[in-house]
Each structure stands twice: as structure tokens, then as C-alpha cells.
């Protein structure tokens, strides 16, 4: 073999190597972002804890966020409103005053949007509305269908998950507080798989920036994006492979109640939405992941709502063995309720994983 032939072969080997790797890279990018076979991506350090505060009790939930304030409701003190600043240092407590007091209150919940807040209970049903300047609310709705979820879309329009009379199946709909004749719902948005109650369970969100209702199923790998008049934009999929709810129910004897025959397979536990990104706390480990991370942290998957793609995942660490039970995202800050604590994580831009790492150099360092 002459040196000429050797050089030629070396050149061929070089070209072959370069082309192979570039091809692999392009295909890998394509598979990861568009046809995921359930492999998560954990970029380093995309979410870092920057604040933590002890709330003393573990009964808080997120009622809303806006203008640098975080609003917390409390299940055991239903009319108490706790307001934290964005650094979680300052805490103010308000007591909500309801004008009408003769309702069968059991477990009222609160939502805050802009200057308004809403106190509601879907099983009665009632909805109060008030202004956060004085925390006084008056009754707006005290009749109509029962509902199980409510998210305000603006000061009068609410996204609602109704319960159909008798069957109790869930429906996504809307409600206008100023004009109750404008109740509407779409029976086709939620898709029944076997009972229409458990299999369609999930979390209702409203995306302010895009003016869209987002519903994430709890027991299957799907989320729904619809506009405020209930036109379906699309159905997207979370990265896991559970397309059918795996819930087995058992009828209790001498009782119309149903209960779980075995623990259900929860796919998407808590969710949050902000801007073009959807955040989902999934409970299903993917391929090639260290099991240890699942023992010490809740895993949040990030999806881009504009192109239905999976972007990346990051851990929110347990505190004293307690898992995250609620989260809220605003811009690059993620707030999570974990046990008696509330934490704030800073999210770095490269969690959306759409540019080369060197383009992010300014945001990392």
C-alpha cells in the first residue's frame, strides 16, 4: 500500500467520521425534541434555589401571583390570605371579609388575579369577588352547575371544570360573573376513557400571556390547550408513554361511592404555566436516569407550548423528606410549596434548550 493510498484512506476515514457524528447529532436533536421515546434531559444547574422561608404550617396553597407578590391561601384557615414579597422575606396576613355569610361554607378556595380575588366552592356552588385593596368580597354566583376547578381568566371570565349533574363527569367550560347566561362548556375537550371522572382528572391552568386555557391530565400523558371561548388549539403529549389512564376502581358495597382498587398511576402531579413554557411535575422516571434523583427531588419537565415540544427537566429538591406539593412560575422565578416551607428557584434561560451553550454564556456566568 503506497503512501498515496494511505492518505486517501485517511481522508475517507476523516470524512466518514465527521459526517457520521453530525448525522447522529441532528437525528438525536430531532428525536429528543419531537419524537421523544421518554429520555429526559437534565441540563446542569438550570434551576437554583435562591430563597427559602418557613411558613410554620403545611396547609398553604398558591392563590396567585402578580406585581412581585405571591398570594397564599390556607386550607385550614380558608379566609386567611398570606401575601409574600418575591424574595419571600416580607409576609403580610389579611383576613378576607365576605358580605354574605349565610352560605354552607365547607372548604372555600381563593384565587387572585390582578387587582381582584375570588372566593369559591364548586360543590355548593358559590363565587365571591372582591378587590385586593380591602380584601372584602361580595357574592356573585350562587347557583348553576357544580364545579371542581376554577381559574380566573380576567376580572369577570372564569375557566371552570364543571361536574355534569348525576354522572359527575368533568367538563371544561367558562363562566361570566357579570352575565350568568353566558355559561358555556365543551363536552369534547376532555376525552373520556372509562368513567369520565377519574380518567379525566387533571389540573386546570390559565396562561395569561397567550390567553389560553391549559388542562393537564393527571393519569395520562396529555395536555389540552384551548382559547377562552373553548376552541381547541391542540392536544399535546407529555414525554412519558402512558396514553391510557391506569386507574382501577372498586364499588363499595351498599354504597354508591367508588374508591381506588389499587393505587392509581399518577403521571402528572402538579403543573404551572408561564409565557410559552409549561411546567409539569411528572412522577414517572424515564430511561437512563439515576434512580437516586427521584428519591431526593421532584422532577419538573418543561414543554414549549408554541411548538408542543419537550425542552428539558430539572429537580426541585425535597426538604426534610417532604415533596413539592404546589408550584407557581412567574418569569424566571419558580415558587414551590414543600412541607412547611416555601422556596424560590431561579430558572436559567437555557432550560428551554433551544440554542447552543455558548449563546447562553452571558446568562450562566
Amino acid at each position: 500500500m503506497s503512501n498515496k493510498v494511505k492518505f486517501a484512506l485517511l481522508l475517507i476515514c476523516t470524512i466518514f467520521s465527521v459526517v457520521t457524528i453530525i448525522k447522529l447529532f441532528n437525528l438525536s436533536e430531532d428525536i429528543i425534541h419531537y419524537h421523544n421515546r421518554f429520555v429526559r434531559r437534565f441540563p446542569q444547574h438550570v434551576a437554583q434555589e435562591i430563597h427559602q422561608t418557613d411558613l410554620t404550617y403545611n396547609s398553604y396553597y398558591f392563590a396567585g401571583i402578580g406585581e412581585g407578590k405571591i398570594y397564599l391561601g390556607n386550607y385550614t384557615a380558608p379566609l386567611q390570605m398570606t401575601v409574600l414579597d418575591s424574595t419571600l422575606k416580607e409576609k403580610k396576613i389579611y383576613h378576607i371579609e365576605l358580605k354574605e355569610k349565610n352560605l354552607p361554607f365547607q372548604a372555600p378556595q381563593i384565587r387572585v388575579l390582578g387587582d381582584h380575588f375570588f372566593v369559591f366552592e364548586g360543590i355548593v356552588p358559590y363565587i365571591f369577588k372582591g378587590n385586593i385593596s380591602n380584601w372584602k368580597a361580595s357574592l356573585r354566583i350562587n347557583s348553576g352547575y357544580h364545579f371542581s376547578h376554577l381559574e380566573p381568566m380576567d376580572s369577570v371570565n372564569m375557566a371552570i371544570r364543571y361536574m355534569t349533574p348525576k354522572s359527575g363527569e368533568s367538563l371544561i367550560g367558562t363562566l361570566n360573573l357579570a352575565d350568568t347566561t353566558k355559561v358555556s362548556y365543551d363536552a369534547k375537550l376532555l376525552q373520556k376513557q372509562f368513567d369520565g371522572i377519574f380518567d379525566t382528572d387533571g389540573s386546570l391552568l390559565f396562561n395569561k400571556q397567550f390567553n389560553r386555557i391549559v388542562y393537564v391530565y393527571r393519569y395520562r400523558n396529555e395536555f389540552i390547550v384551548a382559547d377562552p371561548i373553548l376552541n381547541l388549539d391542540y392536544r399535546g403529549n407529555t414525554i412519558d408513554t402512558i396514553s391510557r389512564a391506569q386507574v382501577r376502581l372498586a364499588q363499595l358495597k351498599n354504597n354508591s361511592m367508588k374508591t381506588f382498587a389499587e393505587p392509581p398511576l399518577i403521571v402528572n402531579k402538579t403543573t404551572a404555566v408561564d409565557g410559552n413554557l409549561l411546567y409539569v411535575n411528572s412522577l414517572l422516571p424515564g430511561l437512563y436516569e439515576s434512580e437516586n434523583i427521584w428519591k431526593i427531588a421532584s422532577i419538573v419537565d418543561v414543554y414549549d407550548l408554541t411548538d408542543k415540544t419537550y425542552r428539558s427537566s430539572f429537580p426541585i429538591y425535597h426538604i426534610a423528606g417532604k415533596k413539592m406539593k404546589g408550584m407557581l412560575v412567574s418569569g424566571n422565578l419558580l415558587y414551590a410549596l414543600i412541607g412547611e416551607k416555601i422556596v424560590c428557584y431561579k430558572l436559567l434561560e437555557h432550560l428551554s434548550q433551544d440554542r447552543a451553550v455558548r449563546d447562553y454564556a452571558h446568562s450562566i456566568h
Binding site: 500500500m1 503512501n3 484512506l9 466518514f16 467520521s17 465527521v18 447529532f25 438525536s28 437555557h350
Partner: protein, 150 residues
């Protein structure tokens, strides 16, 4: 540069030995900590979608190349294969550093302490070594064997 056949053979042998040691070490350390290696590859932005078969294919190739390099008759093929694998790894690191959305933490074993840039230089050195060995390989094996015997 003109070397006599003996020197050329020695240089080629040394380079081949270095490669055999490197590949055997790399493949063994991967297999010894296979689960970890598989997880790391799954996290690697370039190959995460192929993380099912690459973790097995890579050490297998490394062992095969090491064997090829040990057999005098197959040594040239082994050197071309080693050269190609090293070139692929180098392109991989280059893409990782320049085009990928994030850089995974590290690889295993003694190479763990290297930064990706040092790794890039390390790899390029090995590519050059393989190139040198290929060019220094006796041009006609059977004839060379005879000359050595004489």
C-alpha cells in the same frame, strides 16, 4: 524523514501499544460501571436518543480495535479503525462544545479530571499518532517479514 525499518516498526509498535492500553482501559472502565455509563450517555445531548445501543456498541468496538491492533496482519485495519473512532470522538466533543445546548458533566476513569478542552487536545494528539503509525507502517507486510528474517 527517513527511518530505517526497525525504527519504523518500533514507533508503530509503541503507538499501537498505547492505543491498545487506552481502548482496553476505556472499554473495561465503561463495562465495570455500566449503569452509570449508560445514564451519562443518556444525558449526553448528542447521543441521548441512541442511549439504548451505543453503551454496548462503543466498548465492543474498542475491544475489537484493540484486538486488531494486537494482530500483526490486521494491524493496519485496526489503525484505520482507531483513527476513525478517535476522529468521531473528537468531532463529538467539538459539536458538544460549540453547538449543543448543554455540556454534560464528565466521562469516566482517569479522564474524569480533564476538561472538555483538554480532552479535545488529548484526542487530536491520538489522531495524529494514529496517522503517523499508518504512514510509517511497512508498505508491504509479507515483504517486510522476509526482510526482517534476513
Amino acid at each position: 524523514m527517513k527511518f530505517n525499518t526497525q525504527t519504523r516498526n518500533n514507533i508503530v509498535s509503541i503507538i499501537c501499544t498505547i492505543y491498545v492500553v487506552l481502548f482496553t482501559y476505556a472499554a473495561t472502565s465503561k463495562l465495570l460501571d455500566f449503569e452509570n455509563f449508560r445514564i451519562q450517555l443518556g444525558q449526553s445531548p448528542l447521543v441521548s436518543a441512541y442511549a439504548s445501543w451505543i453503551p454496548i456498541a462503543l466498548p465492543t468496538f474498542e475491544f475489537i480495535i484493540a484486538i486488531l491492533l494486537l494482530l500483526p496482519k490486521l494491524r493496519l485495519i485496526g489503525l484505520f479503525a482507531a483513527y476513525s473512532l478517535m476522529a468521531m470522538f473528537t468531532v463529538y466533543i467539538y459539536i458538544l462544545l460549540n453547538f449543543s445546548a448543554f455540556v454534560p458533566c464528565s466521562c469516566g476513569g482517569i479522564l474524569e479530571n480533564m476538561t472538555w478542552n483538554q480532552h479535545l487536545v488529548f484526542n487530536i494528539c491520538f489522531i495524529i499518532l494514529a496517522g503517523i503509525a499508518i504512514l510509517l507502517m511497512p508498505n508491504n507486510l509479507p515483504v517486510n517479514h522476509k526482510t526482517i528474517k534476513l
